[in-house]
């Protein structure tokens, strides 16, 4: 060792690092070492490059950054000596991964080393290539590797075979080049070459069906013979593991036979005998033997049917399941999952044992067993199995409860024979592990309850009792509060008693207590509190005697720090104080929730959950939606200091109640509404990418002019301010029928409703090529719904083919588009197309505004389209 060299030896550095008492000390040592290594790298010090890299690898293992050493690896690899190359390749595999650009620089060195005369250097290069090669490198170096598959030394052949696996995984097109050399490896005697050769062939079959066919025809016999030889071989100390000769080779052969036998009766037939022999003769007292049996069972299950063998396999699994070794039981459960599709009856026989495994102390086994039980359940055994699982829920570990609860809920939902059983089981789950129950499961339960009118009383009483026992379970509380709000009167009056029930005495104030406790508990989350608030509003009309107390509770929430609760409490208070006459109609029992709609919505829950984010993201660039709406709200809302008028429709309560998970309430309800409408159109139009400013500058002047001129109600200009938006808003005020419940102008009685005919038709759009007329119709009983008949006329001399009209509305509206009467517009106003739009305005009295997009194809020309976005389509209902 050079006495003048700076820096420490590798061994000394490791000692120094190990001697560190604290993390800070360790960092200091590492920093010092790294600085020394960097300095040495800068000096291009060749003598210590080898040692520096070894140190860097150790530092890397401790988790410190070592990227500055990457080039050193390349330099070492490029040097001539074996020791340098050895450490260089090791560093390369450790410090770099295939995604780093630097790696490309090593391709040339690799190529040289693959052709090196020293076979150990060839081995190093093959190993590095097999571990980290990228697709480009695979393409460049595949010919070398292919050649090395026929190298004279078996140790190089085996490395080349594994390297080929990496290459064909990275570039499957290269597979065909490897088929013949790989098949040649199967005839070898050297175990290393055989193992790697079989593995290469198995992987070739995965990427190339041509390879599969080839091996199936040419190699099945050879493989069966090889397996027979290995299975019957006398004691061979070199390959012996626990009395079995080379289990690794056994397993690889079995796996390859599985691939060949799958879907091919002849191949399967030829391997039956040897599989039977392996399955019966292999010793199962050691892990190695069991590993072979396990692989053999899987092969038997996968190849084409042979009844006798399958019985044998299932019996082995039964033995495994009864084993005391946890590892063996784990793999047995794993394999039974696959066996279920082959022979469900045989697996059912082990049901009791499997159920015991669900209760095992080992989390891995429990998880497997639970998955398996889930697959085993059918209509006939659902009751006893669910009972077992629910009983176990009480004593299970906290971390397992989540999985278990989800599975039980899913089972109960899927197989429930009757509603009362479903409700009973769900109540048990909710009381036991309510905090683990997912929101959508609660929604499903509420839908079921709502659809079982004869069980309303029973359910609400059961929930009341459950609430008393375990009020800390969030989901239970939500369902209980909802039901008490809806069916509180049934709770108090013991309506709809079933034979199985004991009568209970609950006073009206007891029922109110439930909601009060919930709303005042600190641990309740926002949604639960909001549900309790609504329940209170509902109870106020069900229990007139408690009305004052309820009002007090609601008023207390005025001081809530959460805007949602504060606002609701103000609104509800206003309902209670000023609108007694309509209160009872307002808080009537929810209409029965439609199960089909709900399940449809659940099925489509993926896009629904996605939509809030997309909505939010498009809302920003399309700011018009918000900014334009604001002055309109102000114009209408006379008490402008109040928050925007809340919805008063029962339809929206439904949304609130069902949308339990709408913690960011506004965004989500918007999304769910959009989803309900099926107005993907909205998304389409919003995400068009045309900046609204641009489109509005293109045509608006003509258009607004035409509207102002043609609109027969444009005479109320006196009210108009300088802003054209409000001018138009005011202009169409003629047919006002405002029922603004919450505007604080209490005494004003609701205006009488106008029926239908008072709405004149409007030219919604007109250009030189197209005219759109809107005719309005109001259904007398339902002021919120406006039916618009749109009539499209083609003013140009070309026929419009594939005419499509799309419309989108802000989220306080719901839009339903009926199919159009046709999609072809004849030229020169010689015919029209009509389409009906139904708009439901949840904030009745607010201006309806919409965005419209139309496109069509002129004869043989490209698609034209008109976008009428932002403030152009307003009218008032």
């Amino acid at each position: 060792m050079n006495p003048f060299s700076s820096g420490t030896r590798l061994r000394d550095m490791i000692r120094a690092i190990r001697a560190c008492k604290t993390a800070a000390e360790e960092r200091a040592v590492v920093r010092k070492e790294c600085a020394a290594i960097r300095a040495s790298i800068n000096e291009n010090d060749q003598e210590y490059r080898h040692r520096n890299l070894a140190k860097l690898m150790f530092i890397h293992m401790l988790g410190y950054p070592t990227h500055f050493g990457q080039m050193e690896c390349l330099k070492l690899i490029a040097s001539a000596g074996f020791p340098e190359k050895r450490i260089g390749y090791l560093g390369l595999m450790l410090l770099l991964d295939e995604r780093q650009e630097v790696l490309m620089l090593v391709t040339n060195s690799l190529k040289q080393d693959l052709n090196h005369t020293n076979q150990y250097i060839v081995g190093l290069a093959l190993c590095a290539l097999g571990n980290i090669c990228s697709a480009e490198m695979a393409r460049d170096l595949a010919p070398e590797v292919e050649r090395l598959l026929q190298f004279r030394d078996p140790n190089i052949r085996k490395k080349a075979a594994l390297c080929s696996i990496r290459i064909i995984k990275k570039v499957p097109d290269l597979a065909e080049n490897f088929i013949n050399p790989a098949a040649a490896l199967l005839k070898e005697k050297h175990h290393g070459v055989l193992i790697t050769g079989v593995q290469l062939c198995t992987d070739l079959c995965k990427v190339s069906s041509e390879a599969l066919e080839h091996f199936r025809k040419k190699c099945t016999e050879v493989l069966v013979k090889t397996l027979k030889d290995v299975a019957n071989s006398p004691y061979a100390p070199e390959y012996d593991v626990g009395g079995i000769t080379d289990p690794f080779l056994h397993i690889r052969l079995l796996r390859f036979l599985r691939v060949l036998g799958q879907g091919d009766a002849d191949a399967s037939d030829s391997m039956n005998d040897i599989l039977a022999q392996v399955a019966t003769k292999t010793e199962s007292n050691k892990n190695a033997g069991n590993a072979i049996l396990y692989e053999c069972v899987e092969t038997i299950m996968s190849i084409e049917d042979n009844g006798g063998l399958r019985v044998l396999a299932i019996n082995i699994l039964g033995r495994f399941l009864a084993n005391r070794d946890n590892n063996i039981r784990y793999v047995a459960l794993n394999m039974l999952m696959k066996a279920i599709s082959v022979d469900a009856q045989a697996v059912q026989r082990h049901r009791a044992t499997i159920l015991e495994c669900v209760k095992d102390s080992d989390a891995s086994i429990r998880k497997r067993a639970l998955e398996l039980v889930y697959l085993l359940i059918n209509e006939s055994n659902v009751k006893p199995l669910t009972k077992e699982l629910i009983d176990y829920l009480e004593v299970s570990d906290q971390e397992f409860k989540g999985d278990l609860t989800a599975k039980i809920c899913s089972i109960v939902e899927k197989f429930s024979p009757e509603k009362i059983w479903y409700i009973d089981q769900m109540l048990k789950v909710l009381s036991e592990a309510g905090n683990f129950v997912k929101d959508e499961v609660c929604h499903a339960l509420i839908v079921v309850i709502s659809n079982a009118p004869d069980l309303h009383g029973y359910t609400v009483r059961a929930l009341y009792k459950a609430f008393q026992a375990s009020s800390e379970q969030e989901s239970l509380v939500r369902v209980a509060v909802w039901c008490i709000g809806e069916y509180g009167d049934m709770l108090v009056k013991n309506v709809g008693m079933l034979d199985v029930e004991d009568p209970i005495t609950v006073t009206e104030s007891d029922a109110v207590d439930v909601a009060e406790i919930t709303i005042k508990r600190h641990t309740s989350d926002l949604t639960t509190k909001a549900m309790a608030l609504i329940a209170l509003l509902k109870l106020s009309s069900r229990f007139p005697s408690c009305s004052e107390r309820i009002r007090d509770i609601i008023v207390q929430q005025k001081g809530s720090l959460v805007l949602e609760l504060q606002q609701r409490s103000l609104e509800f208070n206003s309902i209670l104080e000023k609108h007694r006459n309509i209160r009872s109609a307002l808080v009537e029992r929810m209409p029965v929730l439609d199960e089909a709609t709900f399940s449809g919505r659940r099925a489509g829950s993926v896009p629904t959950t996605l939509s809030p984010s997309t909505m939010a993201s498009v809302k920003v660039p399309n700011g018009v939606v918000k900014s334009a709406a604001a002055p309109l709200v102000d114009l209408l809302d006379l008490t402008s200091d109040d928050a925007p008028a809340p919805s008063s429709s029962s339809g929206d309560f439904l949304n609130d109640i069902l949308g339990v998970d709408l913690s960011p309430a506004s965004a989500h309800s918007g999304a769910s509404q959009a989803a309900k409408n099926g107005t993907d159109v909205l998304m389409d139009i919003l995400s068009l990418g045309t900046p609204p400013a641009q489109s509005s500058s293109s045509t608006p002047d003509i258009f607004s002019l035409s509207q102002n001129q043609k609109s027969p109600v444009a005479s109320l200009d006196g009210l108009s301010t300088s802003s054209p938006v409000s001018a138009r808003a005011a202009s169409s005020q003629a047919a006002s029928s405002i029922i603004d419940l919450l505007d604080g102008l209490g005494p004003s009685p609701p205006a009488p409703e106008n029926n239908g005919p008072a709405y004149p038709s409007v030219v919604a759009f007109e250009s030189s090529s197209l005219r759109v007329m809107f005719d309005f119709l109001k259904s007398p009983g339902n002021p919120q719904i406006t039916v618009i008949k749109a009539t499209f006329t083609n003013l140009s001399s070309n026929v419009y083919a594939d005419f499509v009209f799309q419309a989108a509305v802000p989220k306080f509206l719901q839009l339903h588009l009926d199919p159009a009467s046709g999609n072809t517009l004849p030229a020169n106003s010689s015919g029209t197309v009509t389409q009906t739009l139904r708009v439901t305005n949840s904030q009745h009295g607010k201006l309806i505004r919409s965005m419209v997009k139309m496109f069509w194809r002129k004869a043989k020309s490209t698609t034209s389209h008109v976008n009428c976005e932002d403030d152009r389509f307003f009218w008032k209902d």
């Binding site: 490395k159 793999v331 086994i365």
Partner: protein
């Protein structure tokens, strides 16, 4: 296939990591943290398999060291245990009753042995004797090179005296 091999001490210190699937440095740190958390907290009598992120981690404890290999869910877990044991036996023969300290100070040797045993996530040799022979052949190549180098430097040193 084997996605990676980890050797982690009972204190959670990493003694060896080998990656056969691409993981960035950041992911590697995260993986090591997650897996040591899972593995070190399991009791002694439980099974040697842990499901982790769609893959399976097969681990076995030898004295103070956990050997762990992450495999595909359809791979043979029992066989992976044998592979681990195979590796340990080879280490044991090479170091002569291996202990954690051997692996700390001669970590590169452990890597060389692993490279003779596994490439591209697949096992390459089932004979312990062959692996030992290959390793010692390469070690002697290194020794020979070293001797040559020192003799040359001696010559140079003498010549410049």
């Amino acid at each position: 296939m084997i996605h990676f091999v980890l050797l982690i001490s009972r204190q959670g210190k990493v003694r060896l990591t080998k990656w056969y699937s691409p993981y960035s440095q950041k992911e590697r740190t995260k993986v090591i943290r997650e897996i040591s958390g899972l593995m070190l907290h399991r009791g002694p009598k439980l099974c040697n398999f842990v499901e982790w992120g769609g893959l399976k981690v097969v681990y076995k404890r030898y004295a103070s060291l956990y050997f762990c290999m992450c495999i595909d869910p359809e791979d043979n877990e029992l066989e992976t245990l044998e592979v681990i044991h195979h590796f340990v036996e080879i280490l044991d023969r090479y170091f002569g009753s291996v202990c954690e300290l051997d692996l700390i100070f001669n970590f590169h040797k452990a890597y060389y042995i692993l490279d003779e045993l596994v490439i591209a996530g697949e096992i390459q040799e089932s004979s312990k004797k062959t692996v030992a022979r290959l390793i010692s052949a390469q070690d002697s190549l290194v020794e020979a090179a070293k001797e040559e180098a020192s003799s040359i430097s001696n010559i140079i040193a003498q010549a410049t005296k």
